[in-house]
Amino acid sequence: MTALDKKPKKDGYTPKFPRNWFPPPKNMLGADYDTDWARKPLARVLRAALINSITRPLIRTVAKPTIIGIDRLDKLKSPAIFVANHSSHVDTSLMMAILPKRFRRKVAVAARHDYIFDKWWKATIWSLWMNVVPIERNKASRRSVELPLRLMKEGWSFALYPEESRGPNDFLLPFKPGAAYLAIKAGVPLVPLHFKGTRRIFTPYSRRFQIGKTRVVVGEPMYALENERPQAFITRVQAAVEQAADEGNTNWWAAKVRAMKGETPPLTPPPGLTGWRQTWAATKPEPAMEIWKP
């Protein structure tokens, strides 16, 4: 059988070795962008080199992360879905920098199909560097569900931002249940993470990095309860992210006690607080630490 005898696929793209080791044609963009090439061995080796030589040193220098609770991943088996609050482009790089090697080398990141995958060069760079896959966020398309499920079946973990977008400030946007749906379907745990300080490092309006400090708190991996609906599951996950933030601000025990009493400080804005007052409240500086005096 010659190459001409091969029946072309519907989209006109005929993958043939080594063609599928390279990015798809320029006209294939958006939700249809095929990212399989970015999970071939060559791309994985390149990605590991990029992350180890550029991303991680850069994050260590610029973001100076303090990592809390990473030991909670010790007994966790791949795959898993990592969910976190999203306030900056630095979030994904930070996640790549702090995850243990066994997760880092086999994790895909869900990204908006209309943001990353609108230009061929952006799609190529981000697919290679962060292993992003396109997800349609405004509609529940079949591909947006099947692709992550197939990847998790192949052993790939997933990173998702349930807020779906970087919010206008550090208050949480309501979590969408997509991540919980995928976790229930694939039978994998959700790992809640809370990032603090990343907005300052790379603000949405700036094109330059600002050196600062960040904090990552890794929460306990969570499984869906029997017959639990995705919305109920994601509500629990949101509470876990809030608990992780509380743990970062206080300590494990204090956060645990407050969570048991249902007194964890919410990360969502108080009702009625909108517009500029919401951002004003979100950016309120923390009180200076008082020096202990005997």
């Binding site: 206008p168 603000t203 700036s206 500029w276 007052r277 004003w280």
Partner: protein, 508 residues
């Protein structure tokens, strides 16, 4: 304890005095008997600025506390002086950002949802997002700049609000957002001798209104305009007064008295002088306008516009007031290393001349350093150097409008510049000053020129000096010789002003 202003009388033992000249530092040996008028040393800044501002907002002059004037559901606009309020951008954190944070905190506590900020820029260029975010700080940037709740005033805008006033010939055109607000909080760094409302009237109104404020002999216009604005929208003013610490660290000696320089100061001066001489001109022109000013807040006053302006002027007199001395026949000034209209840009000849003449002959109510019919000697190697992005209208002003004979009517040319679609486009969307700005600066220079017998520029382009209507001398000694001819005085009295210059005393 900072020392007050001081007049140094030059004698045989006085060393040559440092003077700025077109981006270079030089020394000049002044004739014996000349005087150098130094301003007082920088006053000690307030220790906790936030607390000072809070206290001032709670106990304003001639007004209710701000927290009582802010009511839920009101439409609040906060306008602030733009980057041109000082000669250079201020070192961070900018006190405007701190004051705005305190004001906004009170507004948030009062649960006011409809709050907008206006960058009161008058005829000067837009500020870049980067400049705004560093001036205002990350909190205000996140809450207002990113969310488009901060606008930069557009004096050529078509949607300006017309306020009628029986005392003003034509309608006063005011920023629409401000006109529709229930309260305007105005944050200023720049009090004015001419009128308490001069700053407001020249920064948040339309072009024609601003033109009637920034011109010769019509200073009381600002009061009329200000009263009309205040009738439309009540104003609560917050005035921050800055000290004169332009230089700090290793360059601090640049504003200390010449006869007190230590050996280390002399060495530093020589190093700086050689470094500036060796720096290529295109780099030097820009480098000098970039370093931030180290001025710090020495007093905060809030309340009614008139009362806060008066309080700020009293503080500034303490900071900048020169020692009492009679006006001289000849006043010597160096070209300033910076100008409000050249921040992160280039100091062009008109800006240098404007600085010299407005420093020499201040507005009414203050006694000039130079006698009527005296001479100003400006150290400035005049060269046609302009920033093509910011100073487009200045370039055309030099090419198309100059030379101007005394008494020429520039109103037609100004009208052409003010309505030119290209200048308006650059002013609105790019970073250019308004087309009418060079005419307004020139009008202020004209007022000073009509007081003097002549202006002599030391060094630079002869043709350019003549086009501007000035005489040109090759050396300082020649300039003094020429000045004695003009004043018909073989031994004219000479006063030199250093940079930063002191303010003359009030005539009262």
């Amino acid at each position: 304890m900072p020392r007050p202003g001081f007049t140094l009388v030059v004698d045989g033992a006085t060393p040559p005095v440092a003077i700025w000249r077109n981006g270079h530092l030089t020394t000049e040996k002044l004739p014996i008997g000349s005087v150098v008028a130094y301003p007082p040393e920088p006053l000690t800044p307030v220790v906790d600025l936030r607390e000072h501002i809070k206290a001032s907002l709670e106990s304003p002059i001639d007004s209710e506390p701000l927290s009582k004037r802010l009511l839920s559901g009101m439409k609040l606009t906060i306008a602030f002086d733009d980057i041109t309020a000082t000669d250079r951008a201020l070192a961070l954190p900018d006190p405007r950002g701190i004051a705005l944070e305190e004001i906004l905190t009170i507004a948030a506590e009062a649960q006011i949802d409809d709050v907008e900020l206006v960058n009161a820029r008058g005829l000067s260029r837009r500020m870049s997002k980067r400049e705004l975010s560093s001036m205002l700080g990350p909190r205000i940037t996140d809450s207002f700049v990113v969310t488009n709740l901060l606008s930069q005033h557009d004096a050529s805008g078509e949607d300006l609000f017309e306020v009628s006033s029986s005392e003003h010939n034509e309608p006063i055109r005011l920023n629409k957002r401000i006109a529709e607000s229930d309260l305007l909080i105005y944050l200023t760094l720049d009090p004015s001798d001419a009128s308490a409302y001069r700053n407001i009237a020249s920064r948040i109104c339309g072009v024609t209104t601003i033109q009637s404020v920034i011109s010769s002999g019509t200073t009381n216009n600002a009061d009329v305009i200000g009263a009309a604005i205040e009738k439309q929208t009540p104003i609560f003013q917050v005035a921050l007064s800055l000290n004169n610490a332009e230089f700090s660290g290793p360059t601090r000696f640049l504003q200390s008295r010449a006869n007190e320089w230590a050996m280390s100061d002399r060495a530093a001066f020589r190093v700086l002088r050689v470094a500036l001489d060796l720096t290529p001109a295109p780099i030097r022109e820009r480098v000098l306008t970039i370093p931030p000013s180290q001025q710090k807040v020495i007093s905060v006053a809030s309340g009614s516009v008139t009362a806060t302006n008066k309080a700020s002027l009293a503080v500034l007199d303490k900071q900048y007031g020169a020692e009492e001395s009679p006006p001289a026949d000849v006043l010597v000034l160096g070209a300033p290393p910076a100008s409000p209209y050249a921040i992160n840009s280039i100091l062009n000849p008109l800006l240098a001349v404007h600085y010299a003449l407005t420093t020499a002959i201040p507005v009414d109510g203050r006694r000039p350093f130079v006698k009527e019919g005296g001479v100003v000697i400006l150290h400035h190697g005049l060269e046609k150097t302009f920033d093509p992005q910011e100073q487009t209208s200045f370039i055309d002003f030099f090419d198309r409008v100059l030379p101007i004979e005394q008494g020429d009517d520039l109103s037609k040319s100004e009208e052409v510049f003010a309505t030119d679609a290209w200048y308006i486009h650059l002013y609105r969307t790019s970073y250019a000053h308004h087309g009418t700005l060079p005419f307004r600066l020139w009008a202020e220079c004209e007022r000073a020129r009509s007081y003097l017998s002549g202006v002599i520029v030391v060094g630079g382009d002869v043709d350019l000096a003549h086009r501007m209507g000035f005489r040109r001398a090759s050396t300082f000694a020649d300039a003094v010789e020429m000045a004695s001819d003009i004043t018909s005085n073989a031994n004219p009295s000479i006063t030199m002003l250093p940079y930063p210059a002191p303010r003359p005393r009030a005539t009262s």
